[in-house]
Symmetry: C2
Subunit: 280 residues, 2 copies
């Protein structure tokens, strides 16, 4: 089938690469309002051609939206009104506002709301990786609001990407994802800030940084333009997660100030239980 | 030469493996007050034999100490008083208290204070890896207080491990390391706590966790028994780092509450500068 990918960054570019390689896409049409993205995507062979949104939709069977979540909310109703029999999917990191924005659209059932739990800290067409999605989890929201045909197409696509699909309510999705993804990014961004700040006085501090620091601070290299709209759309849940996180850091700080080894040990031993989750 | 390794966990076990493989050590003698560690280290062929501390020292040319930093401070003066011509090195993650504890010892010049910036979140003899140190940075403190012979032996050892050596004052070391290592661990431990806490109500939350979450929370699997003494010995510096970190998280939370995208973007763009450091 012919597939339009709207947004040729890390997520969209990786989709384009993988779906072309697997043969699922006969032709990939790229749409991106940044000219350097379209030219780069063509050079890198991520897409077969680039077109404007309306032309691309008319020439496609399936439209995949991989742009910042504030832009998805704006463009999605427009795309839904332009389609005939095409199926539309989004890949945004929030789901409540996106599902809400077309909940009453007459073509709602031609849409599938998705969130692949995959990414890197890099951005733009050059960050695209063909194996990005393989073995990862994809979350589909409001599956009952999609037609059988739309859902079947989506499931075939995720099968081609070797992804494991789970289903979730969009409100639940946004609440949970605040903890296991959005909070991690804030913790990492602010860790980066803290250490960069001290570097102003201590020039050679980063000669000392090992793999542990790199691991915790890696996400601080992520795209601000992608993340600010996510935090805004999911602010209620992200605020709860961040409040809890700060509360725990303060509890630890108090134990540290009191040289209370027992309390520090207790907190770290509880945190060790994360091994159960990560090693399974 | 014959080498005694005191402490047969991740750090000591990896030293034993690497130094035996490279031929730098003719014989490795293990010392550990946990019986399951000595039996496991023998089974895994990390060491050639295990002896009590006094016998091991008498049979060695070089003594490497790789135990929690509170135990180093206790055992180091005792070891220094037991040696004849042997050279002693420690591998603890703090340096001020350790250097201080033997600053006036008559055999001070037979000691080299080191901190290899290498590790994983795993613990015990089974966590030992022969390539753990390769390509990593090692910090030597107070090199002028070590004799030429002791320093030469230490440099040869780090060369065998393929490590890059930098020199630093112990007070500076402890201040900087609070930011680029100790803080990362607290941020990760408490991130683990926050998410495990919410999991009590939301059973399937971890099905959603992707590689970003794993990266930021990996260090929460680290050994509490190793880290509590580090935080205690370096509490002044760790407190400063943690205070700054919490301050930045609160600034971000405020921006989030005010839906202040400009401020969030500004903070994240500044944090992006960490790329300069990590990609070099």
């Amino acid at each position: 089938m012919n597939i339009t990918v709207v947004g040729l960054g890390l997520i969209g570019g990786s989709l384009a690469l993988s779906l072309k390689e697997s043969g699922f896409a006969k032709k990939i049409i790229g749409v991106d309002n940044k000219e350097n993205h379209t030219s780069e995507a063509l050079e890198l062979n991520l897409v077969d051609e680039c077109q404007d949104l309306e032309t691309a939709i008319a020439n496609s069977d399936l439209i995949l939206i991989a742009i910042p979540v504030n832009a998805i909310v704006e463009i999605l109703p427009k795309i839904m009104s332009l389609i005939d029999l095409q199926i539309v999917m989004d890949f945004g990191s929030t789901k409540e506002a996106i599902c809400e924005t077309i909940s009453n659209h007459p073509k709602r059932e031609q849409f599938v709301a998705a969130h692949p739990m995959a990414g890197t800290e890099n951005t733009g067409p050059s960050a695209a990786l063909s194996g990005l999605y393989s073995g990862k989890v994809n979350i589909i929201c409001e599956k009952d609001k999609s037609s059988e045909r739309a859902l079947k197409t989506a499931l075939k696509l995720f099968q081609e990407l070797s992804m494991n699909v789970i289903y979730m309510d969009p409100v639940e999705h946004d609440k949970h994802i605040a903890y296991v993804s959005h909070l991690s990014h804030i913790s990492s961004f602010m860790l980066g800030m803290t250490v960069l700040d001290i570097e102003k006085d201590e020039k050679n501090i980063f000669n000392m940084a090992g793999s542990g620091f790199q691991s915790t601070v890696r996400l601080a290299m992520s795209s601000p333009e992608m993340w600010a709209p996510i935090f805004n759309q999911n602010s209620k849940n992200v605020k709860s997660a961040l409040t809890e996180y700060i509360r725990y850091l303060q509890i630890f700080k108090e134990a540290l100030e009191e040289h209370n080894s027992e309390k520090m040990l207790e907190l770290m031993k509880e945190a060790n239980d994360i091994r159960r989750v990560l090693k399974k």
